[in-house]
Amino acid sequence: MSKPIVATTALAGCFGCHMSLLDIDDRILQLVELVDFNKSPIDDIKTFTKKCDIGIIEGGVANTENYKVLKEFRKNCKILISLGECAIMGGLPAMRNGKDSIESCLKEAYQDSPSTINKNNILPNDEELPMILDKVYPCHEVVKIDYFLPGCPPRADLIWDALVALLNGKEIDPEYKTYKFD
């Protein structure tokens, strides 16, 4: 029987959720025996080469590139998990929502910052750069998400227990007391 296939990505997050996944420590050596990885920072697979069983999403949707990647994940993964606050509700980056326009954020960083010397008032603006969205969106506002694992980041044990449940064909149903939101 072929192993379950896992894909992961980090959208507008800080990679702390991927770090917390690494905090399962020596169990990572078991994990690489239990599953195969497809599109993920874990390997060199840039575009999906086959349908995956589990897709793990870190980070919210802040630009056109995040949007595109999330849609691709939904199309290619049977189960999608929003991992951590940013994926679930936009997290810290969403502090700009409804408060600061993207123009004011760019102006602050590239024109008004005290260390910046920018006589021509250049803003980063190039065809190579993705478009920034008007606000940071939680993943479930863009695609259907099957499970949510809270925390900033979610604790390693919570991630491990969730993966073990799915690999055994069960629902993710963590005990309430294991939910932490910071």
Binding site: C14, F15, M19, S20, L29, G59, T116, P124, E128
Partner: protein, 486 residues
């Protein structure tokens, strides 16, 4: 008909980056750029928040080295609450923070070298991409994988007992720290069950260095000649010139080793450092003001630190430092791949310093917080794993942040990384008819030497995924090549 090559995505601080390469009609190098393609706006949206939140919020810039942002923000807030600029904290607070920071640099460097960079060494830059990653290491070099996982775990445990949490902790507060180390926590780390104790960590740090030095002996071409170019170097050093990752003064040297900046108070960083904006990247381009944007760029990080420091204040690392210095006859080391060597020496230094601090009774008792006369502005500077990190805040009479200026470590290395890309392109791609996966990886290896923040998280568990697109001079897509084609 010229060509444009896009490498996308390269992962970096705060998300993703990509490389574009332009070649002329004969496939010779014309231009290359490392673009940083994500922007989040922390400087703006943090305005209006209470100052004491900054150490816990701003660290969410980065989940790989959150402790660095946690401490840099806390150091800036120390100044704001009148607790001084580094020497004003209680011994307990300063030592707890230092222990936290050594744990952080230890785990981050281990992650980078063993999980990310070592596959290039063990399997070769043009090795089979199917195994040239941490899973390949786990399957084919199990002993090394176990070592890497347990060393990182040790660093994370040190962070947990000092910051309260492995990622995004809360230990450092304006003016000090919010907990002592308990005797149980101390003993767990000092004499914990094999391999989770500090002596084992020192032993493994030494064997990691031996691994690199042996590799170097057999692969001088790639380690010494890859992306080697002269530059200025900047770091914080202790007042007496010692390597100090937590506090000190700013020093910069030129490529010959002459001091061009020395004994600069970190509060005065703005007098010496400025940043330029270019339209094609969200990452700014810092430089030393007195040399201007064209010539003022510099390197930061482990290599720059060992170049600027006079000595390392721990015996085993000092011995290795002397070998490192002797290799370039005491002159600055300008070889990008020697970042790895410098990083491994710092791993050893961190392990030695953690042992010293764990034995220090000040961690177990004593005052935690210093109070003083409140001001409205503060700068916090730290040597983060990837280099000098600047946090600068102003607050109003209602304790709200009104200004936040951040120059993150990797930003300082913007031009050096662009030069590493250029160097790899010229060495491996320019003038060639066919582009192979190994050539793409060579570009990654050049960037990877600098351990750019967050991309390190991405490679945390592997490699940069790459896609190369070929365009003709009218930007018509000719060919897409990805590593999956292999």
């Amino acid at each position: 008909m010229g060509k444009k090559i896009t490498i996308e995505p390269v992962t970096r601080v705060e998300g993703h980056g990509k490389v574009t390469i332009y070649l002329d009609d004969n496939n010779n190098f014309k231009q290359s750029r490392l673009h940083i393609v994500e922007f989040r706006g922390f400087e703006k949206f943090i305005q209006g928040r209470p100052y004491w939140e900054a150490p816990v919020t701003v660290q969410r810039l980065c989940g790989i080295c959150p402790v660095s942002h946690h401490l840099a923000a806390a150091k800036a807030m120390d100044v704001i609450v009148g607790a001084g600029t580094g020497d004003g904290l209680t011994p307990t607070a300063e030592k707890m923070r230092r222990l936290m920071h050594f744990g952080q640099v230890f785990q981050s460097h281990v992650l980078h070298f063993f999980h990310l960079a070592s596959p290039d060494l063990l399997f070769g830059i043009d090795g089979d991409p199917a195994i040239r990653n941490v899973i390949g290491i786990a399957k084919m070099h199990k002993e090394l994988a176990v070592q890497a996982v347990m060393m990182r775990k040790f660093g994370q445990e040190v962070i947990k007992v000092t910051a309260g949490k492995k990622i995004h902790g809360t230990g450092a507060i304006p003016g000090g720290i919010n907990k002592h180390l308990s005797t149980k926590e101390k003993l767990n780390l000092l004499i914990g069950q094999d391999p989770m104790n500090i002596d084992k960590m020192i032993e493994w740090s030494l064997s990691g260095l031996e691994f690199f030095k042996n590799y170097h002996k057999d692969h001088k071409d790639i380690i010494d000649n890859f992306a080697a170019y002269p530059s200025k170097h900047l770091s914080m050093v202790r007042k007496d010139g010692a390597l100090d990752l937590y506090h000190g003064v700013l020093r910069a040297i030129d490529s010959e080793g002459n001091k061009i900046l020395d004994d600069v108070d970190t509060q005065d960083y703005l007098e010496h450092i400025a940043e330029e904006v270019r339209s094609w990247s969200y990452m700014k381009f810092p430089y030393l003001r007195k040399y201007g944007p064209k010539d003022g760029w510099y390197r930061v990080g482990p290599l720059a630190r060992l170049n600027t420091a006079d000595f390392i204040p721990s015996p085993l690392a000092q011995k290795e430092f002397e070998l490192f210095k002797a290799y370039t006859n005491g002159k600055p080391n300008n070889m990008s791949m020697h970042y790895h060597w410098a990083r491994l020496i710092e791993i050893l230094h961190c392990a030695e310093m953690m042992k010293e601090l764990l034995n220090d009774p000040d961690l177990l008792k004593g005052e935690l917080v210093t109070k003083g006369k409140k001001g409205n502005e503060g700068v916090g500077v730290l040597e983060a794993p990837r280099g000098t990190l600047f946090h600068h805040y102003k607050i109003n009479e209602d304790d709200q942040i009104t200004m936040a200026n951040l120059i993150v470590s990797t930003t300082n290395n913007n031009i050096p990384m662009n030069l590493a890309v250029e160097s790899a392109v010229k060495q491996f791609i320019s003038g060639k008819n066919e582009i192979t996966e190994g050539m793409l990886n060579a570009v990654e290896v050049g960037i990877r030497a600098y351990d750019p923040c967050l991309s390190c998280a991405t490679h945390a568990i592997g490699k940069l995924p790459l896609q190369i697109k070929l365009y003709d001079s009218k930007n018509n897509l000719l060919d897409i090549k990805t590593k999956n084609d292999e």
